[in-house]
């Protein structure tokens, strides 16, 4: 059985907090992120979504200090991650606490073997060999790439590379895991497996997860916080059901799950009405069964 994610409670401690965060890339004329004020609590599974080009990736780069330290440009407002002021904290220090999986895995992998790539972060922590071996094995296994251990990352397919990048972060077990469309190259079953692993880490280690994702069909059920961006701004921020059922989400083109859209169409026509909007096919089946009972 699927665990009941809805009953999962989160601790009340802000792990990421931004206030009036505005960022402009060096040669750009308008900000990529504008006046963003959000709070992500420790242990949350937050999904960050919105149309392509809306600033999701840019915001993620602020979470681990790539912005402003690597990309430079102009950063206004405040951002604290764990207990660090991002502006004052070097990337290498933030990287110990915040793991980032890039959208394009090729940009992230560099070692000569998958195993070495996954172990790289741990080596830098100065971890004991035995513990390192254990972590690497666990990460390879849960990402389903044990058999690729000795392969060179650049010889792998896009989907396999994506798994290697994810394994690298799973091995690190950082307090905050930021994943930028981590499964875009994976087939649906592969993507689902990865989401489940992330959810397990989130629950068992109370790891905070920020997932950038268009495919809410797959991801919505794992989230307890959804943030929607559009043209650099946060336009919706709240509980998944509340956010995904809002008119605004639909207008901006958020990838609302198919069953949710089916429900919405039936509701518009006054044919179906539920107290809670369905986000998964299981919820939709239960709803329809309830209504059609006694047929």
């Amino acid at each position: 059985m699927e665990p009941n994610f809805a009953s999962y409670s989160v601790g009340l401690m802000a792990i990421i907090k931004t206030e009036g965060l505005t960022y402009t890339y060096p040669v750009a004329t308008k900000p990529a992120v504008e006046d963003v004020s959000i709070t992500i609590e420790k242990g949350e599974f937050a999904v960050l979504t919105g149309p392509s080009g809306c600033g999701k990736t840019t915001l993620c780069r602020c979470f681990n200090g790539l912005i402003p330290h690597f990309y430079r440009g102009d950063l206004q407002g405040h951002i604290r991650v764990i207990d660090f002021d991002v502006r004052e904290t070097p990337i290498h220090k933030l990287a110990l606490h915040v793991g980032l999986v890039f959208q394009n895995p090729e940009n992230q992998l560099f070692a000569l073997s998958v195993e070495k790539d996954v172990a790289f972060g741990l080596e830098n922590l100065g971890m004991l060999r035995e513990e390192m071996q254990k972590r690497v094995n666990y990460a390879l296994e849960t990402s389903g790439i044990s058999h690729l251990r000795l392969k060179a990352p650049h010889e792998l397919s896009g989907g396999q590379q994506q798994r290697v990048a994810i394994a690298g972060i799973i091995a690190m077990q950082p307090e905050v895991m930021v994943l930028d469309e981590p499964t875009s190259f994976l087939d649906p079953l592969g993507a689902e497996k990865i989401f489940k692993v992330i959810r397990i880490l989130n629950q068992s280690l109370n790891m905070t997860v920020i997932l950038v994702e268009h495919r809410l069909d797959l991801a919505a059920r794992y989230a307890n916080h959804v943030i929607v961006m559009d043209r650099g701004k946060v336009i919706l921020d709240g509980e998944p059901k509340e956010v995904l059922s809002s008119e605004k989400a639909r207008l901006v083109g958020v990838g609302i799950p198919k069953v949710t859209r089916l429900y919405q169409r039936l509701e518009e026509d006054g044919i179906l009405k539920a107290s809670e909007i369905p986000l998964s096919s299981e919820e939709m089946i239960a709803l329809l069964r309830g209504v059609l009972a006694g047929d």
Binding site: G190, K258, S281, D295
Partner: protein, 272 residues
């Protein structure tokens, strides 16, 4: 027409990507090649424009063996849009990127201009005309790559994972756009594991697993067959899942798209 005859393909490192695959893509057809990561989907379509040549067997494009001609010639009729746009883009502005191939094919400047403007408008990229492709988001870069291929108007358009990184609105545009291209007589081949996208487009499907074709048929046939789909690491579309879950209430379950689902449910719910 593209005719793949008993083709096997082994990469130089020894990976056997295709084993005795035979498939025919007819003119004006809309085909989706689906299957798990590493199934051989990308390898298969790279044979279509001669980027790869078979290790054994042969590939005929309009009766010409791809071994007897150049990629440059084949590209004029079979346009290929890569999975990762970064493998394709290299110019300093979006406009130059799209013009590049057109000039290579010997289009005159006024035609280049017209085609570029047409392609930019088509994919909603006009505001980025003078922008560097590398300043764009992943999803936008993907559209630039597509625009640059469509600009030279190939007879066959092959798109490797076109929906990756595209938001819902872009996907809907892409869907309408593919259907429009196809209805104008263009052959469209997409490689994808985006089940929900395929469910709304309803192309013919070729399902691959471990270098072989394991099933072929209409979207309705393939997407409502959980056993076959699981073999290829694909999940049943959400709409179909709902109807399968209601099968004992007398619903048919070969439903894959939103519109049909709404119609069928409305009929039943209104009676209540």
């Amino acid at each position: 027409m593209i005719d793949v005859k008993r083709v096997s393909f082994t990469y130089p490192n020894g990976t056997e990507a295709l084993r005795e695959v035979s498939i025919r893509v007819r003119d004006g057809e809309f085909l989706a090649v689906m299957g798990q990561n590493g199934a051989g989907k990308t390898t298969l379509v790279k044979l279509f424009n001669g980027l790869l040549k078979p290790t054994s067997g042969k590939v005929l494009v309009d009766n010409v063996n791809t071994k007897d001609t150049s990629v440059a010639k084949l590209a004029r009729s079979v346009g290929f849009v890569f999975q990762n746009p970064d493998n394709q883009l290299f110019c300093e502005t979006v406009e130059e990127e799209i013009s590049f191939a057109l000039r290579n094919f010997g289009f005159d400047e006024s035609r280049v201009k017209r085609r570029v403007t047409w392609a930019l408008n088509l994919l909603g990229l006009n505001e980025y005309r003078k922008t560097s492709p590398f300043m764009l988001s992943g999803g936008e870069r993907k559209r630039v790559a597509l625009a640059s291929v469509l600009a030279w108007d190939p007879k066959v358009v092959v798109m490797d994972e076109p929906t990756i990184g595209q938001d819902h609105r872009q996907k809907e545009k892409l869907r309408q756009f593919i259907i429009q291209l196809n209805s104008q007589g263009k052959t469209v081949v997409i490689v994808t594991h985006d089940v929900e996208f395929v469910a709304e487009c309803a192309p013919r499907i070729v399902l691959m697993s471990s270098g072989r074709i394991v099933a072929e048929g209409s979207s309705k046939e393939i997407l409502t067959d959980p056993e076959t789909l699981t073999k290829a690491s694909i999940v049943v579309p959400q709409i179909t899942q709902v109807f399968m879950g209601l099968a004992d209430l007398g619903f048919q379950f070969d439903v894959i798209d939103l519109l049909s689902a709404k119609k069928l449910l409305s009929e039943r719910l209104i009676k209540k």
